[in-house]
Amino acid sequence: MTTIDRRGALKRGAALAGAAALPLGVPALVQAQDDSIRIGHITPRTGFLGQAGEQGFRAATLAVEEANAAGGVLGRRIELVAEDSVNPATAVNKAQKLIERDKVICLIGEVSSASALAIAEQAARAKLPFFNTGSNSDALRGQNCNRYLFHIEGSNTMYTKTIGTWQKQKNLIKGARWYFLTADYAFGHDLFRVSSRFLAENGGIVLANDMVPTNTADYSSYILKLRSLKPDYVYLNLAGVDQTTFLKQYREYNLPFPLTGGVMDTISFWAAGLENLSGTWQSLWYHGIANKDAQAFSRRFLAKYKLPPDNQAWGDYVGVRIALQTIAETRRTDAASIVQHLEKGATFDLLKDRKGMFRPWDHQLLQEMYVVQVKDKARSKDKWDIFDVIEAVPGPKDSFEVIQPTQAENPCRMT
């Protein structure tokens, strides 16, 4: 065999790899028209959060297409410049590229709390608004808050208090014994802290908490263990693929202890399949809510992408719409005007019954969330129809602050 053969084989492999990688690079290469308004989209589209990120990218694309079809904003076309932020280090590079080279007017996206923190630092340095559409960590809204960082995604506290408020009403917490399973990284630790605090404050008992490494493929050992502990409830603080895997294996053992948890991502639940789901959960947004704007958005998304929007798609779609509405209302694209408008309490249609607005002192979008219950299989219309929406939290007459961290709980001090 000659060296040419060897090199030939390698070249062929490299060509294949290049061909496979190409579609991801394309959006960034598209050149802008001169007077268009550029929005930077940055989110993980590969790696363990890639499934959610891809949904976000699709939704942001749809929002921009619809805006352009309606004539753009201020008579100018909108252009989405999209980048894949695989990990925090890449996120920093891509954020810098979007800010310095593409001259975007704001950044939208992210799922990972670690990457979001890195991007937020870059955006703050460049004095550019960053709309976080998928990172839940309380710390981002707390000690790491800054004037240019806005949160469309709910915080861990919001997720916890949504399900917790409902459980408290149903008297499920007081005296009940809870077993926790928690993802062993920043997000999980943060979530365990706020969820166990809420339970303890309301008379619940934390029976045990097991920290689980991410990407665990086998949960049988944990399930056998919790079976012997006989808790009243199992509380899941896992995310992404780990959530899917646990749900499937928990169903495998058919244990009687009801499931609930500190976060629910529709995409992980879809991947598990309805027959493997059980329990009562919370949702930031679900395509089955009875709201006609939500239904219309779901139909448009479904027509384009052959699957309904999940909570992540909702976040990026609403994120782009909030940015565009702000530009339209202020008639300006500079950061100072945008920030000022948002802090002054501008209200936004969120594809939910109540309009939302940003809390001025920590920039969290105040909004409704939902308690959802896994649907009876017989009544499910298709493979995405997995939940019954029980109720919106806070209720129609309650203050948005019910599920928010109080100023005492949140150390955010903006300068």
Binding site: Y222, E252, K383
Partner: protein, 307 residues
Amino acid sequence: MTSCPSPLLLQLFYDPSLLALLLEQIVNGLLVGSFYIVLSLGLSLIFSLGGVVNLSHGAFYAIGAYLAYEAEKRVGFFGAMVISPVLVALIGIVIERLFLKRLYGKDPALGLLFTFGLALVAEQSLRMIWGTTGLPFSIPDALRGQWIVGDFIYSYYRLTILGVSVLAVLGCWLLLNRTPFGLVVRAGVRDPEMVRALGISLNPALAAIFALGVGLAGLAGVMSAPLAGVQPAMGSEILTAAFVVVVIGGLGSFWGVVLAGLLVGVVRGITVFGCPPGAEASMYLLMVLVLLFRPRGLLGERFEKFE
């Protein structure tokens, strides 16, 4: 809040009834271990004979799961369990004949680079064909349910995995030790030059072993699909575990892989009992300990070509 050492472990010292729970974990570890064996056996075979460090082993595992997803819709789960590994093996033969055969006996880095690239291409292809989102795949109705013996609980599905794994391991052993083909393979593992000198071509054996190896990975993919989900990154996530098992068992050793797979499963179960955050780290710690005292792995033999 730290959960290591776990309260259960401390309780064990004054409450012997917990020993039953520990025993349950150990037995469960053996079940989990049987899955690791099927996953890693092919990797070990391919390395032993062809000298190729197959970094695309995880990709074949993922392809097995995806093909099973398609096959299950048409022929049911049990049909998928047969068809999918066979298809994966056929893909393996094509890749071996087109590319990999050019790399045998060359600098091992070439095989490494090729299979690494292959894994990236495969993962991206899965994304392009089936989408980035995970696909639902459930335990077939016939295998749902649990077998409860006293305090112990076993799912029928995992017992089925155990059965299939035992069959797969026995089948491979018989193939390698009781057939003329196996004789050529074993001779090729020890001394390929001598086999060639005797006028026996190793090429068919190399292709067959690669196909068998990746077919086993495909089988592991099918078995894990109902438990761990079907998603594009599943292959790269499992690859490291497969390597750890092979290294602990010892390169080139059939029973080494079997022993190491069971050990990894049991050690992991015990760690979940005693120190949950260390669950994933436990297999690496085991590897470090084994390598410190037996650098060739538990049952690794001294072969001239590996020195």
